[in-house]
């Protein structure tokens, strides 16, 4: 019983981290239809900046991620401007845009290698390595803190998108760009802002990633499949759907690892994705 309960709890903690990684992609891919394959690489870049601030100045990893987020926002805005000017404006966003983001991914990886080297990087904090025991449930702070931060960030993004004018404009641009224009909002500026917001989330997700385990420049590739699967499973454009999908993936992986064998975990998790899409092609909470 305690193994089962711990597996569920571990899965929820892990799922929240997955949601932090995927939320930016839920905006860019889910809502703006931009296939930003470089998204997990931005997360790794966030990890490296967190590592620098932690190892050189002793800054807490979460604080480092939050402080760096505005810089990532600006970077995201600039990247979108290039993408729009080069591809979206001329209608070439599908294949050429995808190739563009592949290029961005490789450039970031190579820059990280040249600046930071290839050795594994880890961060230190007083709470990493400590545990809270609630009865027979063990809660490692190394995963609890990312759970709390990820939940807060996801909730903040969700409320921003659903309750503010700009947030609603971001949701609207995905649904009907022309109608949004008629409302007096510039769709390009809205998408630019949304892309910046998505990249800003990677700074925080990166700080959580480097708390959980060591990072090296190519680690982002491990998360490409997972991040896109979560966005698709949750339903394109749905933040609550993305969260549910992330938690579901985390719990399934954890339960399978505990009881059937860890090597089955990806197969079962992606099996759940395929089954869901077979039954409900738009995803759990997607627009039908």
């Amino acid at each position: 019983m305690d193994l089962f309960a711990n597996a569920i709890v571990a899965g929820i903690l892990l799922g929240a981290f997955y949601a932090a990684v995927a939320i930016g992609l839920a905006i860019t891919f889910g809502q703006l239809d931009i296939v930003n394959i470089a998204h997990p690489t931005f997360v790794v870049a966030g990890s490296y900046i967190t590592w620098i601030l932690n190892s050189s100045y002793g800054l807490d990893p979460v604080l480092a991620g939050i402080l760096v987020a505005p810089i990532f926002f600006v970077v995201g805005v600039l990247i979108y401007r290039v993408y729009y000017a080069a591809f979206e404006r001329t209608g070439q966003e599908s294949l050429s845009g995808l190739a563009f983001f592949f290029g961005v991914m490789f450039i970031i990886e190579v820059v990280l290698i040249m600046v930071y080297g290839v050795d594994y990087r880890l961060v230190s904090a007083d709470y990493i390595g400590k545990n809270i025991d609630v009865g027979f449930i063990g809660l490692p702070l190394r995963l609890v803190v990312p759970f709390v931060v990820a939940s807060a960030m996801t909730a903040a993004v969700y409320f921003y998108l659903s309750r503010t004018f700009t947030g609603r404009a971001i949701l609207a641009v995905a649904q009907d760009r022309l109608a949004l224009q008629l409302m007096g909002a510039d769709p390009v500026r809205i998408k630019q802002f949304a892309f910046g917001l998505a990249i800003a989330t990677t700074a925080i997700a990166g700080s959580l990633l480097v708390m959980i385990g060591p990072v090296e420049p190519s680690l982002g590739r491990v998360y490409i499949g997972r991040a896109f699967a979560i966005v698709v499973l949750g339903g394109m454009g749905s933040i609550p759907g993305m969260v549910i999908a992330a938690l579901l993936l985390g719990v399934v992986e954890s339960l399978v690892s505990s009881f059937a064998g860890p090597s089955w975990a990806p197969a079962v998790a992606f099996g759940v994705l395929l089954f869901t899409l077979a039954v409900r092609p738009s995803g759990l909470f997607g627009r039908a």
Binding site: S124, G138, P140, R142, S257
Partner: protein, 421 residues
């Protein structure tokens, strides 16, 4: 008059032609003497194993510098021709094909790691080349290639020799533990290590109560460690790569794993950055290693080499101490160098025969190969972390933190047992 002029003209022309022919020969001889001797290889310069790969390359460049200071090999300066395999086995065959068919290298050596060595074997075997290899576990078990030479001191039966010491140490304890958990990543090296552990566990009369693999992309290891804890295994053998080793050690600490022995084949616990970060979490883990700064392993030249490596590695974002792979990366080229000098040529058959016959003096001590190209005698150390302090890399520079428990010939201390009460 005309005849004298014609004769003089002919003499001059003949002389000029003779001079040109002689000059051409001289030029060609000089060019050949100066023509670099090219050694080709792939190396993980990006990707998961790049930390070790780049460190190996620094060591290899130090060797090249040393050899060229002595006038090169066979009177020719040594040059490297290498490409980044990005820790992707699929890239390796193409790289070695290019090295041999396009770059026309004179000699080849391997990349780092089992997963990157195995794909090169068919290419190298087809060309009947000598293939000094860098840290591949049991690669030659399937190929049985008589020109393969492995610098990693796993031993003549690498799969089982690798973990023999680990299980022998467990068997020496009173009371002897009876149950074993074996967990490994889904990858060539780790599966080979786990296969050897399984054999040793059965030979030692252990009951294997947990025996599973996990995908390389696993993020959280606490479900795995909890499942192992639930199996009540007394001895836990883990075969893992660096990020997974960190995940396992942290999860073991968080779960409060109460094993009698924990460790085995965890790559990464030999790396300075990881040792510094894990700190006291490493204490009492018994894991493999190949060189540690214990007094029993002070081979001629190794300390001087490490001092040079550490200076060269500064600011390059690689392992700053270089205890794990660099000495062996230098040594496998020393083996090649000594063979080329001894046979005075590049005849692959003669090189291979010499490598099988000779004992080589290297920075990692004496190296002698068995018939299958592995070390004639295993020197896979079982090392226990002891009294490691938090956040301190300098403590690993000297002896006392990684105690050699096995083999007895290199032992520097006794085991602390159990791992956790």
């Amino acid at each position: 008059m005309t005849n004298r002029r014609s004769f003089a003209r002919a003499t001059v022309i003949a002389g000029a032609l003779a001079f040109a022919a002689a000059s051409g020969s001289l030029v060609s001889f000089a060019a050949q003497a100066a023509e670099p001797l090219k050694i080709g290889f792939s190396m993980a310069l990006t990707g998961g194993l790049a930390g070790a790969g780049k460190a190996a390359l620094i060591a290899m460049e130090l060797w090249r510098e040393d050899v060229n200071k002595k006038g090169g090999l066979l009177g020719r300066p040594v040059e490297f021709v290498y490409y980044d395999d990005a820790t992707q086995p699929a890239k390796v065959p193409g790289i070695y094909t290019k090295l041999l068919n396009v770059d026309k290298v004179d000699l080849v050596v391997s990349s780092y790691g089992t997963n990157e060595i195995a794909p090169a074997m068919p290419i190298v075997m087809r060309k009947k080349l000598v293939f000094p290899s860098l840290f591949g576990l049991a690669v030659n078990d399937q190929f049985n290639y008589d020109r393969y030479f492995q610098i990693m001191p796993a031993g003549p039966e690498p799969k089982t020799d690798w973990s023999k010491g680990f299980f022998q140490l467990a068997s020496e304890q009173k009371p002897k533990p009876t149950t074993v958990a074996i967990v490994s990543a889904d990858s060539e090296f780790t599966l080979n290590a786990a296969a050897g552990a399984r054999k040793n566990a059965k030979a030692g009369g252990y009951i294997i109560v947990y025996d599973k693999t996990y995908p390389m992309s696993t993020t959280d290891y606490s479900p795995i460690v909890r499942a192992i804890e639930a199996s009540k295994a007394e001895v836990i053998f883990v075969a893992s790569y660096p990020p997974q080793s960190v995940g396992m050690v942290k999860a073991a600490h968080e779960v409060g794993l109460k094993a009698k022995m924990f460790g085995g084949a965890m790559v990464g616990l030999q790396f300075a950055a990881i040792q510094k970060n894990l700190g006291p979490l490493l204490n009492n883990i018994v894991n493999y290693d190949f060189w540690v700064p214990e007094p029993t392993l002070n081979f001629p030249g190794v300390k001087e080499f490490l001092a040079r490596y550490q200076k060269a590695a500064k600011g390059k974002g690689v392992d700053p101490l270089g205890h794990y792979l660099p000495p062996y990366a230098y040594a496998y080229l020393q083996v090649l160098e000594q063979s080329v000098r001894a046979t005075n040529g590049l005849d692959q058959g003669k090189l291979a025969a010499h490598m099988h016959r000779a004992t080589f003096k290297t920075v990692v001590g004496d190296v002698k190969f068995a018939k299958n190209g592995e070390w004639a005698k295993s020197r896979t150390l079982q090392v226990q972390f002891r009294d490691v302090k938090p956040n301190n890399m300098a403590q690993f520079e000297g002896p006392g933190k990684r105690i050699v428990l096995y083999p007895k010939a290199w032992k520097s201390g006794d085991i602390v047992y159990p791992y956790k009460k």
